[in-house]
Symmetry: C2
Subunit: 342 residues, 2 copies
């Protein structure tokens, strides 16, 4: 409703002066500034960033592209991004881009090209060369979460190391018959998360002198996905592993539910470890390698805004820590226990 011209008129100054007083740039006397601020408050004036963006090029808004909203990791990242941006006065505009979204091209060619954003944060979206090119043409800072993009600052965890640590935890307990249930490399856009976790698993197994062939089963990254896979993998008693490394906590929950349903005791007969640090892990007593999505979100915002302030396009990438949280879904395999007890 009210424009800066109204504020200026009410305060008895020129538009230019009102603008300087409110934005804090340029010379304004203390009294004038007070007058202008009082006038602005009186008529409930809030500046339109759209109008300002025309001349400054700054929109006070950031675009976020993300493949899922409901899955835990993404929900957490989103909440932390929103909060961090809000604190800095930025709006967050959200584009949900699931793997095979028909809207994908339109988002890159139309929505993101509308000069609406000061920067873009891409959360675990596997970008094609062409899409990266599109984004770079916007000449805006770009930060990735969860995986590398060419020429872009990235906030991530070391998925290979995390998977390796998780697997080594099982190995150190004495397990030799270990299976990895993780994301498929073909079905979903995986942003290298799936394959990195598989590589970490294989590295740990190989280092322990164990074979890896036939030890991987794919699953949707969800609890029902893990459950379905669990029923299949654990259904045959003769070929049952003593431990499973799940690529995510949500998969692990499903595996535990399947095991319970099949009457397999966890951890006595089956150890399960996940990756994430999901809040439900406590309830399932799940041993997990916790990552910290909120930290990743906050750091991504800091990196983006730093790039914005400095004008440099590429900020510093960061690899965030993970931590092993041992609960009671993992233990030594029964066989060994028996031996130990003798």
């Amino acid at each position: 409703m009210s424009a800066i011209a109204d504020v200026a008129r009410l305060a008895g100054v020129a538009k230019a002066t009102a603008s300087r007083a409110l934005s804090g740039r340029g010379y304004v006397s203390i009294e004038t500034r007070a007058k202008v601020i009082a006038a602005a408050r009186q008529i409930g004036y809030v500046a339109s960033p759209n109008a300002a963006s025309l001349v400054t090029g700054r929109t006070q808004s950031v675009g976020v592209i993300i493949p899922y909203i409901s899955r835990w990791f993404f929900g957490e990242v989103l909440e932390s991004l929103e909060l961090a941006l809000l604190e800095q006065g930025y709006d967050m505009t959200l584009y949900n881009l699931p793997p095979a979204s028909p809207e994908r091209d339109r988002v890159f060619e139309f929505f993101l090209a509308r000069k609406r954003f000061d920067g873009i944060i891409s959360v675990c979206v596997e970008l094609s060369e062409q899409e990266v090119e599109h984004l770079h043409q916007l000449r805006r800072p770009l930060v990735g979460i969860g995986g590398p993009i060419r020429g872009v600052a990235t906030i991530e965890i070391d998925d290979v190391a995390a998977a390796r640590l998780a697997t080594e935890h099982l190995l150190s307990l004495g397990h030799r018959d270990i299976v990895h249930v993780g994301g498929s490399q073909v079905d979903e856009m995986d942003f290298q998360v799936h394959s990195n976790r598989l590589r970490g698993f294989e590295a740990a197994m190989t280092a322990a002198g164990l074979p890896v062939s036939g030890c991987f089963y794919s699953s949707e990254f969800t609890t029902p996905g893990g459950y379905a896979r669990g029923l299949a993998v654990l259904g045959d008693p003769r070929r049952r592993p003593t431990a499973i490394f799940a690529a995510s906590d949500e998969i692990a929950f499903g595996l535990i539910l399947a095991a319970r349903e099949l009457g397999i005791r966890v951890p006595t007969e089956l150890s399960v470890i996940g990756i994430d640090g999901h809040p439900h892990a406590e309830m399932f007593r799940l041993t997990t390698l916790a990552q910290h999505p909120r930290m990743q979100g906050e750091l991504a915002v800091r990196t983006l805004l730093a790039g914005l302030a400095s004008g440099s396009s590429v900020g510093a990438s960061a690899v965030l820590p993970t931590s092993l949280i041992i609960r009671s879904s993992t233990s030594a395999p029964r066989m060994l226990r028996g031996l130990g007890a003798q």
Copy 2:
């Protein structure tokens, strides 16, 4: 980068003509339009809605306020809102406003007042009189999901009826000792969902001639919340109900987990029914009263855009249907079964 003036120059026409050709408003000859469109494509021109919004007042952007992102219902609503808005060319800017958010006032007084949105969708946010007033002052259409706001179109389900139906399902199976586990009215902003579901429960119980005092237990609206409450409520065998009506599927999952842990068989010894239609319900074989958050999101967008087109501020409210999905978490109580078998 490129502005409409560049397009006009390249096409050899005036800015005004280029604008008309691209927007499709006003008279332009077919050949001229083709020329302009070709020129625009050639230099990769995408109009800046920010610039356009200055004169048209339309921003092609909608603000959404929502208390949670991770909880299932909200995630689903969000995904459907984003998709529906995207299809219509609108951006979705997200404000996450958990119950006791310290950012709350700033969002209403600053962020939402920036003239950035053509309309606002409020998802299950309990608004104070003052906040409603603030929103109305923006003179923009406003649509609520999940509960009534004064003078605003609302998309919702009938929570009282849904709770009543769920309870009646248990009653019709022969249960008499039924407990309701739902949200607290004090702890969280509840948008009347909690109290409405409690009212529906009490209405059904009273109609069946059963007492309601002592039959309600509060819980966080999450699986761990239901789990904790389940351990407490089901822990004492002497005071154990034969059936529980959970206010959400996520609570119900927790209750089922707690029951399993206590060695209580579902549904033989305990029936559980929820509300939601959560995708995990299949895995838990949970009987539930399904609502359809995606329908609610789509309808909210349709209502908002209709209000936008017509210029009328208040659209039509709608009450969406729910459907009872019977799985095997509910059955007749054991006692009756025994009788029936005789």
